[in-house]
Assembly symmetry: C2
Homo-oligomer: 223 residues x 2
């Protein structure tokens, strides 16, 4: 029974990582849409979303099945609870990648230089998702904490994008559409970083049983 349970948990871990890989690929392809590379990348994002949605439902099912069947306690229960939450966050990350790709289709005519801090935000958000997943997979608390720490930088880039483009939109009405799109994309990316932060916080809880959400040391979120 215990051996079987360990195998089930390992299979669950692998499926979550598979879903995470899909979400990361979606972010990558959405950013190619932003850069105006090719509209086939937008279609790829839509196709991956279908796969993510299917995994979302299946992984939730599997978590409940494991709880009902094995009646886990302590660390095993925390792992399954974390899996339930990571599953939700990955699905939302995928949703945000779809949003980026959709707005990106409008922006695609703008040359890369005009994207400002957006490529940097894509890179940072992707690295946070990647490391949050690695931290989950390896039960690596230090890596998880480093993901949480990076969230402030993404918030800062989002705020700067807003300030910069707001003033540009006020100066030149021909920049209103592009400025608005970039502001909205920056918020999608910042939400991806938030979800990566959630995953990292779940890893700390899973490994240490310590809830670091809403802790005093954590910076408040900007709107």
């Amino acid at each position: 029974m215990t051996r079987h349970f360990d195998e089930d948990l390992e299979a669950l871990r692998r499926r979550l990582l598979e879903m995470g890989e899909l979400a990361l690929r979606m972010i990558g392809n959405a950013s190619r849409v932003l850069e105006g590379q090719d509209e086939s990348f937008g279609r790829a994002v839509g196709e991956d979303e279908e796969l993510v949605n299917r995994l979302h439902v299946e992984i939730d099912d599997e978590c409940l099945r494991l709880i009902a069947l094995h009646q886990p306690a302590a660390g095993d229960l925390r792992l399954i609870a974390a899996a339930l939450k990571v599953n939700t966050d990955l699905e939302r990350i995928a949703d945000q990648a779809v949003n980026v790709a959709e707005t990106g289709a409008f922006l695609a005519k703008a040359p890369r230089a005009k994207l400002g801090d957006i490529p940097r935000m894509v890179e940072l958000a992707s690295s946070m998702v990647k490391d949050a997943l690695a931290a989950f997979s390896r039960r690596d608390v230090e890596l998880a904490r480093s993901v949480v720490a990076r969230d402030d930088e993404e918030d800062r880039l989002k705020s700067e994008t807003l300030t910069k483009w707001l003033s540009q939109m006020q100066k030149d009405s021909s920049d209103v559409q592009r400025g608005l799109d970039l502001i909205l994309v920056s918020r999608n990316l910042e939400r991806i970083a938030d979800h990566a932060t959630n995953i990292a916080e779940d890893v700390v809880f899973m490994v240490l049983g310590q809830d670091i959400r809403h802790s005093a040391g954590k910076a408040q979120k900007a709107p």
Copy 2:
């Protein structure tokens, strides 16, 4: 044991409803900030957020404690799994209310007539949260489905807000700041409606064991 478990589940239900009442009060007070009524409402939103954050951590703890202690199966397990998710959604609703209040502080000088569809969006989002909580409390699948059905209207109002203000911002640069703020607030409200929809979907799963998320009949989300 069973009787004790029933009492524990009833206590869990009551705490979630308490958290839901706080989230609803935050939306109401955030909308008063939008209408420029009084800055004390903004402080009230911040104070309620603290309470919501505390409940968020406590309810998660309680759900895991109940699973470990009572090893629930079938309907009871679905109820606790739903409680875990409703807890997350309520905390995110509270976050969005904080965002509305913060942007609202900038907007507060605009007369009410200039808010366009925003008061309607506040009303609709609040009614969705209220009914999603009532559906959870009463295990009312029909009411839950009516919440899911209302989400399209909130999406539509959000899209209209974007179209209308984008064109206004292009016409008159003195409207850029206000237009952007209204567009961002409309997105916060639409996300509140999304979270209410998530809660309603969890109610259907909790009662019927049927997962209606990502189902073919459901309209795709706009970005």
